[in-house]
């Protein structure tokens, strides 16, 4: 593979991995904000509204990061993957363009109202805007998953000359691959959002700051986190796994580290793969489970990598294997953490007193980001050596006119840019966390007065 192709792959991998750190949090928090704002309208407890404001602010910073790091994604299809774009643009760009038309306009309009309009337009409009932002972010995710699903499992096309033409729009939109992957991705985002909310709540409680708010954050975070973590395993994770087994058996073999075809194949818990020799060092295997999970029979035969020619193997088997195992391992731990968290919460609110459990919840905050990233590595590395599964090899999708020097220039530029963005983001998050939710209380009076009143009148009343 030429250097410029490797660099283009690295650049895409780097920019999309960094990008996805933000949307997963945005999509997760967007749902939790609907919950918080809904609780406020239901219970009329001002603390829920203050919590909403506080998390809206965190959502807004994250959203901006997601927007600015997201723009390069669509453009890179054209800049670095011109051959792919020419070949499949007729199809792949339908869903990408639909994201702009149906999700981005919606999100941007209602986020503006959510951020600037609470005083001027009243609580019901604010709740409505919150719901619309949630729908917008999740629709956006849906279109991206649909695009990715098509690259994993191309449907609805005909080959015309050296290009693909769209032949069935609904087949692309309703691609069977999309549903499990969408469910899995969205619940992964809710896990990130819930751990983030619960983690910050745990921090405040351990510090004995903002105690009332901390309890709200922990309660909402732990309950949502528990539900999402379970959903992540079953049904969504299970559906994804069986889908991969049906359509991409090589990917399944590589990510499970199954080098040889076996009946009654086991699930590898630990072990270091050696792809050159087709062996696994230091294995810790639970027998027959993989066969059961894949085919619902304990002795079913699962095809290993040796059943496929080497040219079809993904090109980084070890990384693929680790990505998958990190994702699954963390996912299991998440269920345990949130399971105990929910248990202690329901058991006379003991969670708020169990400092060791709060410590665990606080320290768990960054891990969903890792699990989601590892999940995407599994999907995308497992698709290799194809850019469109079974149709176009990655090496043939790249822009032919790009020199190494030009791609390296932009890759280094992105790295520098994202390093700064990342630092600024961490700085701002720290700043918001230190400032705390109580800082959003001062608007309380003017907000209540402003309800249902016009902008000018409200400003007149506010007049601090």
């Amino acid at each position: 593979m030429p250097i410029s192709t490797i660099l283009s792959r690295l650049q895409f991998a780097f920019t999309i991995s960094f990008h996805y750190l933000f949307p997963q949090l945005t999509m997760g928090l967007a749902l939790l904000l609907v919950v918080l704002k809904g609780l406020y309208l239901w219970r009329h407890d001002e603390r829920f509204n203050v919590s909403t404001r506080f998390w809206t602010k965190i959502l807004a910073i994250t959203f901006v990061m997601g927007v600015v790091t997201g723009i390069p994604m669509e453009f890179q299809f054209g800049t670095n993957w011109a051959a792919f774009s020419t070949y499949a643009g007729d199809i792949i760009a339908q869903t990408l363009a639909m994201e702009g038309a149906f999700a981005f306009f919606l999100e941007s309009a209602f986020l503006g109202i959510m951020l600037f309009g609470e005083q001027a337009f009243g609580q019901r409009m604010h709740f409505f805007a919150t719901v619309m932002v949630w729908i917008g972010t999740w629709a956006s995710g849906g279109f991206i998953i649909a695009s990715n699903a098509w690259m994993q499992h191309p449907v609805g096309y005909t080959i015309v000359g050296n290009k693909l033409h769209l032949s069935n729009y609904l087949a692309v939109l309703l691609n069977s691959w999309t549903v499990p992957q969408y469910m899995h991705t969205m619940s992964g985002a809710v896990i990130t959002g819930s751990f983030f909310m619960a983690g910050l709540g745990a921090y405040y409680l351990l510090m004995k700051q903002h105690v009332d708010y901390a309890r709200i954050f922990i309660t909402v975070g732990v309950i949502a986190g528990f539900l999402a973590s379970c959903f992540q395993l079953f049904p969504s994770g299970d559906m994804e796994g069986r889908q991969v087994a049906t359509y991409q058996p090589v990917k399944l073999a590589a990510m499970e580290g199954l080098f040889k075809t076996q009946s009654g194949a086991g699930v590898i818990i630990l072990g270091q793969p050696d792809p050159d020799h087709g062996t696994l060092d230091n294995p810790l295997i639970v027998p027959n489970v993989l066969s059961f999970l894949t085919y619902r029979r304990w002795t079913a035969t699962v095809r290993g990598l040796n059943a496929f020619p080497r040219s079809q193997w993904p090109d980084s088997i070890s990384l693929l294997y680790y990505s998958y195992h990190i994702m699954v391992g963390l996912g299991t731990i998440f269920i345990a953490i949130m399971g105990f968290g929910a248990l202690f919460l329901l058991w006379q609110r003991r969670l708020f007193r169990y400092r060791w459990m709060l410590w665990i919840i606080m320290l768990a905050t960054p891990f969903p980001f890792i699990a989601n990233t590892a999940g995407w590595f599994t999907t995308e590395l497992g698709r290799q050596p194809w850019i469109i599964y079974g149709l176009l090899p990655t090496a043939q999708g790249v822009t032919s006119t790009l020199s190494d020097g030009n791609v390296l220039f932009t890759l280094l530029g992105f790295m520098g840019m994202y390093l700064l963005l990342g630092l600024v983001y961490v700085l701002l998050m720290t700043f918001e966390a230190i400032t705390g939710p109580a800082a959003h209380e001062h608007k309380q009076e003017s907000t209540q007065e402003a309800e249902g009143l016009s902008d000018e009148f409200a400003s007149g009343l506010g007049g601090e």
Binding site: I61, T69, T79, T86, D90, A93, E432, G463
Partner: protein, 349 residues
């Protein structure tokens, strides 16, 4: 169908330039009209709820261009590799500068983002202007529809191997800077109270004066550099309506400005920009990207996607645009009117 999509994509890009143009222009004029921290916050607040939505037009236009003319998308984006990636970096820097400035109350923090906001806004306009000039001038396309342009070569638009920047594209870039800066200044005049509003109005007037020269030079140069332009206009004379509308918009802009009717001055500026872009699109039609060797030019027929794709696309596109227009009308109505000092306290504190 391809002609229809040529017009629709042109419409989306025009919407982008008109809408994002005012917030870019506001950034470019900001250091010249803002005299205090309050002024700077006021300018940011005037674009705060809408800039992101305006930028969506770029993404949406990009996506639409992608599925309706895949070859053009692939060719142009890879050929303009470096400037495009630099544009992405500028968009990022600008986005964070708008959103993050008010997050921490510290004068150095604010100054840093103010400077970045100004620089990235002005540079983005310059790049957009240069990009449009490149499309008008043509690029060194190969037979398979690929090309790669360096940022600059010999600065000569008639060269066999032209760069992104030459005297012609730089001229058009400056013209774009002038037009959008006046546009942005007028928007600020509409949205803010005095004394910032009258300073913005005066600034728009000064820039308007410079634009008389730039527009004249730009038009003449385009006529010389791209022979296809005069062909288009003389073979289809009804197209002269577009430059005529541009003149109307341009003149109306200053007349309304002098009467202190900022809103109508702003609408005139919108008309000017839309008419300029329509003139450019009319001039190169049916080409989409002219080549140095005319046989290799990308046109609406050889760059287009499948008829089926373009047809189903039209169905959802219309629905999407109706929705988008609804949100835009809603947002602009909700945030209608001048910004007051008290409303400054929501959102950015």
């Amino acid at each position: 169908m391809s002609t229809l999509w040529f017009i629709l994509v042109g419409f989306m890009l025009t919407a982008y330039v008109v809408l994002d143009g005012f917030d870019l222009g506001a950034g470019a004029i900001q250091p010249f009209i803002a005299s205090s921290d309050e002024d700077r916050r006021m300018i940011l607040r005037s674009i705060g709820p809408v800039w992101d939505g305006n930028e969506v037009w770029l993404i949406a236009a990009g996506g639409t261009l992608f599925f309706t003319f895949p070859l053009l998308y692939a060719s142009a984006f890879s050929g303009f590799y470096l400037p495009l990636i630099i544009v992405l970096w500028l968009l990022m820097g600008r986005g964070v500068s708008i959103e993050l400035r008010g997050r921490i109350a510290n004068p150095l923090w604010a100054s840093f983002w103010d400077a970045l906001f100004f620089i990235s806004s002005a540079l983005l306009i310059i790049f957009y202007g240069a990009a449009m000039a490149n499309v008008l001038r043509g690029v060194s396309l190969a037979a398979n529809g690929t090309f790669f342009l360096a940022l600059w070569t010999d600065f000569n638009p008639f060269s066999k191997n032209p760069g992104i920047l030459d005297w012609y594209t730089i001229l058009i870039a400056l013209m774009a800077l002038g037009v959008l800066t006046a546009h942005g200044a007028t928007y600020v005049a509409v949205k803010t109270p005095d004394p910032l509003s009258s300073r913005a109005r005066r600034a728009a007037r000064v820039v308007w004066g410079i634009n008389v020269v730039l527009l004249l030079l730009g038009t003449i140069a385009t006529w010389i550099v791209q022979p296809h332009v005069s062909n288009s206009f003389f073979s289809r004379p009804w197209g002269f309506i577009f430059p005529l509308l541009a003149v109307v918009g341009f003149v109306a802009m200053i007349l309304f400005n002098l009467r202190q009717n900022d809103l109508f001055s702003f609408f005139s500026s919108c008309l000017l920009i839309a008419a300029l872009l329509a003139s450019a699109a009319f001039a190169i039609y049916p080409l989409m990207l002219p080549a140095v060797n005319p046989a290799y030019s990308l046109t609406i027929s050889n760059a287009s996607g499948s008829l089926y794709g373009q047809t189903v696309g039209l169905v959802w596109w219309i629905i999407g645009m109706v929705l988008a227009a609804t949100y835009f009308i809603l947002t602009y109505r909700l945030f209608w009117g001048k910004i007051s000092m008290t409303s400054l306290q929501e959102g950015y504190e």
